[in-house]
């Protein structure tokens, strides 16, 4: 019996050893190991992102162009979802069961414990009824987001659209997190950092069902969301909408600028689309439609279409010739059609007449004089030196370079230089006679409509321009980017512009002028220049640049209508109507017929030559 009594020590020892083992284990997990403390915080702390409202956008008159609308996304954390009455829930959400199951499985595949969006953009009405019932469905919650809305249904290319950030952007810009919205094009893109505002973070305690249980440390570490900055644009939305109407059923663009400031008043690209098509959930449906449309409505022709400028380029040639001193304002050249083809007209006796009559041989001669100034013995070398100097002069007009405007995706156009032709023909193997079509704005020179409008502004200003831009002012700030405040001189004396302006006056008002249709009324004097750019693929493009009034111009404009033939036929009346709308705010009765003709014209599929 005695040895059995000793067994009390064995049993006691086992009890004691377990007590010690448990104590050591507790010491390890509670005192030594810190991981559990972090895990504990991760469990109960939920960072709730406060999405700021994006900045509003107004036009120059204070008309609202872009605002925000609340949208509700239904989120799910799959791990927290209990057994679910799928049918009732689908009925509540107003979606098909199949769709629900697919989306739910997708969310589960992504992560069981991270939130995924289940249903995007629930309407405010559905939201109210869903919110009431949602407590029955643990693991689901509603996140409030904002959608962009465009009350005017226009200016899509300018305003741009927003969308969810993609992975490469997130990697490049650490501010963004998956699911954030970012400006993808237009002003939304250019002024993203102003418009987006500042995200706020609220830390709350949540229970296992992700229900909020109160703020963490009474919210002392929380940050408030800062709403995006409001921006006012230079756009005149009435003019913009009018331009879009005029350009309906046409391909091309209109750019109108206030010459003294470089402010863009209208920037129309046709065909266009309703900006509300690329909002939120609709994007997935509409984007493929727009991007595969053969008319390419997403393509912003005003900035991205590079056309030969045609005859409007003669104004540049004349100005360079005058500045170089190779011609004077009274220089006359005969219209010799064997040099380059021309229409029937009396020979131009001076620069103004040459502009008015748009004589091709005249500019053949002018350009020849610009290039060949006997700077070298070899005719090839002479042309080469001449082209080099000419090229630099043309670049000063804003051609052949990306105008640093505040819209993305702008093309630079082409002003061929020495290297261009050396690559094309080989060094020393080209001369004036090879490249003479540049003289009349054909050949290798290409410009975008914005650059054409800028040319018009330069002539209106008689020698300088401000980079065309859309920002007028920014909330809580007195300045706009300095690049838009800088006066850019084109390096041509002011007096040389007088004959050009006279010629452009003649284009509209004098006999033999090519754009009588550009007249507005007796009180507003319009100066303009037509162009017809040869189009090897079909009907020629119709071009017109203009400004008005002649003295102290308020608007400079360029209109480019594809396949519309002669510049005076369509581009000139459109420009005239635009200027009238802008300067008088309405169309006079004398011009209603002109307006009707434009509005009713469908130039989408014309294949004629005038």
């Amino acid at each position: 019996m005695n040895n059995l009594s000793n067994r009390k020590f064995i049993v006691g020892l086992i009890f004691l050893v377990i007590g010690v083992i448990f104590s050591i284990r507790l010491f390890t997990i509670q005192v030594v190991n810190d991981d559990y403390k972090n895990d504990s915080d991760q469990n109960v702390l939920r960072e709730i992102v406060q999405y700021p409202a994006r900045g509003l956008v107004y036009d120059r008159e204070g008309e609202l162009l872009v605002y925000n609308e609340a949208a509700y996304d239904l989120m799910v954390i799959p791990k927290q979802v209990d057994t679910l009455d799928t049918l009732a829930f689908c009925k509540l959400l107003e979606i098909e069961k199949v769709e629900f199951v697919t989306k739910f499985n997708k969310a589960k595949a992504y992560s069981t414990y991270k939130p995924s969006t289940l249903v995007k953009e629930i309407s405010s009405i559905s939201y109210a009824s869903i919110q009431e019932q949602l407590y029955k469905y643990p693991g689901f919650y509603v996140q409030t987001r904002t959608l962009r809305r465009y009350p005017r249904n226009s200016a899509a290319h300018i305003l741009g659209y927003i969308g969810e950030v993609n992975q490469s952007t997130i990697e490049k810009k650490p501010y963004y997190k998956s699911g954030d919205y970012i400006g993808k094009s237009g002003l939304e893109y250019s002024y993203e950092e102003l418009l987006r505002g500042q995200r706020g973070v609220k830390r709350v305690l949540v229970d296992v069902h992700n229900r909020e249980k109160g703020s963490y440390k009474d919210g002392t570490n929380d940050t408030m969301a800062v709403r995006g900055t409001t921006i006012n644009t230079t756009l005149d939305i009435v003019l913009q909408e009018y331009g879009e109407r005029l350009m309906a059923n046409k391909k091309g663009s209109i750019v109108a600028i206030e010459p003294q400031t470089g402010e863009i008043l209208a920037l129309v690209s046709a065909p266009n689309y309703n900006p509300n098509m690329l909002v939120g959930r609709a994007v997935r449906k509409n984007y493929p439609i727009l991007s595969t449309d053969s008319l390419n409505p997403l393509f912003n022709r005003a900035l991205m279409a590079q056309y030969p400028p045609g005859s409007i380029f003669k104004t540049v040639q004349a100005l360079i010739g005058l500045e170089d001193g190779v011609i004077s304002e009274n220089s006359g050249f005969p219209c010799i059609k064997s040099l380059v083809n021309c229409h029937n007209h009396p020979s131009a006796q001076n620069v103004a007449q040459s502009v008015k009559m748009s004589c091709n041989p005249y500019y053949y001669s002018v350009f020849k004089r610009i290039l060949q100034q006997r700077r070298a013995k070899s005719i090839f070398k002479d042309s080469e030196i001449g082209l080099g100097i000419w090229n630099k002069q043309v670049l000063k007009f804003g051609f052949g370079q990306r105008l640093p405007t505040d819209l993305p995706a702008i093309k630079r156009g082409t002003v061929p230089g020495i290297d261009f032709y050396n690559r094309w023909y080989g060094e020393g193997r080209w001369a004036f006679s090879t490249i003479y079509s540049l003289s009349i704005g054909q050949g290798e020179v290409e410009v975008i409509p914005l650059q054409m409008a800028n040319l018009s502004a330069i002539i209106a200003n008689k020698g300088y321009y401000y980079v065309p831009h859309l920002i007028k002012n920014v909330e809580n700030s007195d300045t706009i980017p300095s690049i838009f405040m800088k006066k850019n001189s084109v390096g041509i004396k002011k007096k040389h512009f007088d004959p050009i302006v006279e010629g452009m006056f003649g284009v509209v008002y004098e006999p033999g002028g090519t754009a009588r249709r550009a007249r507005i009324n007796d009180s507003i004097v319009v100066c303009g220049k037509t162009g017809t750019a040869q189009n090897p693929h079909g009907a020629d493009h119709s071009v017109f640049i203009a400004f008005a009034p002649k003295d102290n111009p308020k608007i400079a404009i360029a209109v480019y209508v594809e396949n519309a033939g002669f510049g005076g036929a369509w581009a000139a009346p459109i420009a005239s109507l635009m200027m009238e709308q802008y300067l008088i705010d309405s169309i006079g009765t004398n011009n209603l017929a002109k307006e009707k003709r434009v509005l009713e014209a469908n130039l989408m599929n014309v294949e004629f030559k005038e």
Binding site: F15, L26, I29, D207
Partner: protein, 510 residues
């Protein structure tokens, strides 16, 4: 001779104080676990802490009644009480209510009672009565069988109720039987079996068998001081292992080889006549062969016999989650190799899918519970987050936070300081009961005391072991602390009968 006037005469106040301390700790932690801003009165009867206070009141009344009774009552009525409780266990199977999958509750109106809780002290009484019978000897096979029947009957009935946790508690009687003369080898054997079981699941049967065979040969050889036999056996066995690892034979083949080796070894030893007249060697070899078969059977038992939820309970403990994650990552690397056939790629994808599924199963079930439990306790730190400041338990990350996982609340809010004090209290209680049991003059009281200590200890080990990841998830309450009337009363009755018996120890004639 007797002091009728004072029911507290000769009671062991140390035990009662520890009891009261534990009950109080339980109550305030139940309050903390289910605390919410809406119901903040600790006496609110609609809440669990209010109810627990009521249960505590009843429990104290029960304790007083027991102290007022004669100790003789329990010795006399041990078998009738056992009979009644066994009957109620059968009855509950037939007419009981189902709660959490276990048919173990009698429901009368809103009042629920769990007879299996009371089966414990009934079994203890009956066992004490039986073992205190004169002319009983633990060495007799009949005694062992009878003791097994007394313990086994309620265990089986409770198992039929589908309440595995409460059934396992009856394993605690091994300590009692050991104290009363059961061979120590059985206790040792049990512990060894558990260790081998776990090691096999961690390292796989092959490695354990190989290790065991090597170890056995070396120990055996060295004990017999026969270097030649040892070396020969080692050489043969080494060859077999070499063959296995070189030719990547399947598991089944290695079993045959091991079996063949063993036969060869035994046969060779016989032929050598090294073992003439030494019967023990045969027994040793036989036991060894059985051990090997046991190891091999573990794999089979685990994968074929155990149910899914039972498997996860064990795999969670063994860090299977990390293992699975590692395997998935490995497979992903293989899948993304450039020079891999489409067929192989699909195969790997399927493998990854399967592993992911297992991982999810693991995480959603007990694995997640254990992890949350560890987070709650671990985040308490040294001194805890403070009373009512716990977040993990209050926000429902820990399941069953007022019953089976009540220890998490203590760990989170009171930190290591609190949990250590609890360890001290419990260990002190167990040792105190053993001490008291040993000073009893009657075998009945001693067996009873050991039974109380063992049952409480078993609950303590499994419940706390589960919350700190040292034992599988088995839902049994923490004595005196977990919420619930039945378990509190059952433990109170269990303990106070012993206190009563102890207080009368001097009255018992030897």
């Amino acid at each position: 001779m007797r002091k009728y006037g004072n029911i507290f005469a000769n009671v062991d106040w140390a035990t009662i104080l520890i009891y009261l301390a534990l009950v109080f700790i339980g109550w305030i932690n139940i309050y903390a676990a289910v605390y919410s801003e809406d119901h903040h009165s600790i006496f609110d009867i609609s809440q669990r802490y209010g109810k627990q206070l009521m249960w505590i009141g009843f429990a104290l009344v029960l304790a007083l009644i027991i102290l007022m009774l004669e100790g003789q009552f329990f010795t006399s009525f041990a078998y009738p009480i056992y009979g009644v409780v066994m009957f109620s266990l059968v009855a509950v199977l037939l007419i009981g209510a189902k709660v959490n999958g276990a048919t173990s509750w009698f429901q009368i109106g809103s009042f629920k009672i769990q007879p299996s809780e009371f089966a414990k002290f009934a079994a203890v009484l009956a066992l004490s009565k039986y073992l205190s019978t004169l002319s009983i000897n633990m060495k007799d096979i009949k005694t062992k069988m009878m003791a097994m029947v007394i313990i086994g009957l309620p265990a089986v009935l409770i198992l039929l109720q589908n309440d595995t946790g409460s059934t396992l508690v009856y394993a605690a009687f091994v300590f009692v039987l050991y104290r009363e003369g059961l061979s120590g080898n059985i206790l040792l054997f049990g512990i060894l079996a558990i260790i081998v079981f776990v090691l096999t699941l961690i390292f796989g049967p092959i490695n354990i068998v190989i290790t065991a065979v090597f170890g056995y040969i070396i120990v055996y050889g060295l004990l017999k001081f026969n270097l030649k036999v040892t070396l020969a056996a080692l050489a043969m066995f080494g060859l077999a292992v070499f063959v296995y690892f070189n030719y990547q034979l399947s598991q089944h083949v290695i079993y045959y080889i091991i079996g063949a080796c063993l036969f060869l070894l035994v046969g060779w030893l016989i032929i050598k006549k090294e073992l003439k007249g030494k019967r023990t060697h045969y027994v040793g070899v036989a036991i060894f062969v059985m051990a090997c078969l046991y190891i091999i059977s573990i794999d089979f038992t685990f994968n074929k016999v155990l149910k899914e939820h039972q498997r996860t309970r064990i795999t969670v403990l063994l860090g299977e989650e990390d293992k699975l994650i590692e395997q998935i990552e490995q497979l992903k690397v293989e899948r993304d190799m450039p020079d891999i056939s489409a067929e192989k790629k699909q195969e790997l994808r399927d493998d990854i899918g399967e592993k992911r599924y297992s991982l999810r199963q693991l995480r959603q079930g007990n694995g997640w519970n254990i992890k949350q439990s560890l987070i709650a306790i671990g985040s308490g730190g040294f001194s805890g987050k403070g009373f009512l400041e716990g977040t993990q338990t209050k926000f429902d990350f820990v399941p069953e936070q007022s019953t089976d996982f009540i220890f998490c609340t203590i760990g989170e809010e009171w930190g290591f300081l609190g949990t250590f004090i609890l360890m001290v209290l419990y260990t002190a209680l167990f040792l105190r009961i053993i001490f008291l049991a040993e000073r009893q003059r009657s075998i009945f009281s001693r067996v009873y005391g050991y039974s109380v200590a063992s049952i409480l200890f078993f609950h303590f080990v499994i419940n706390i072991g589960m919350t700190i990841g040292l034992a599988p998830v088995i839902g049994i309450p923490l004595p005196f602390i977990s919420y619930g009337g039945s378990s509190l009363w059952s433990f109170t009755i269990l303990l106070f009968i012993f206190i009563k018996l102890d207080s009368e120890r001097l009255n018992v004639l030897r």
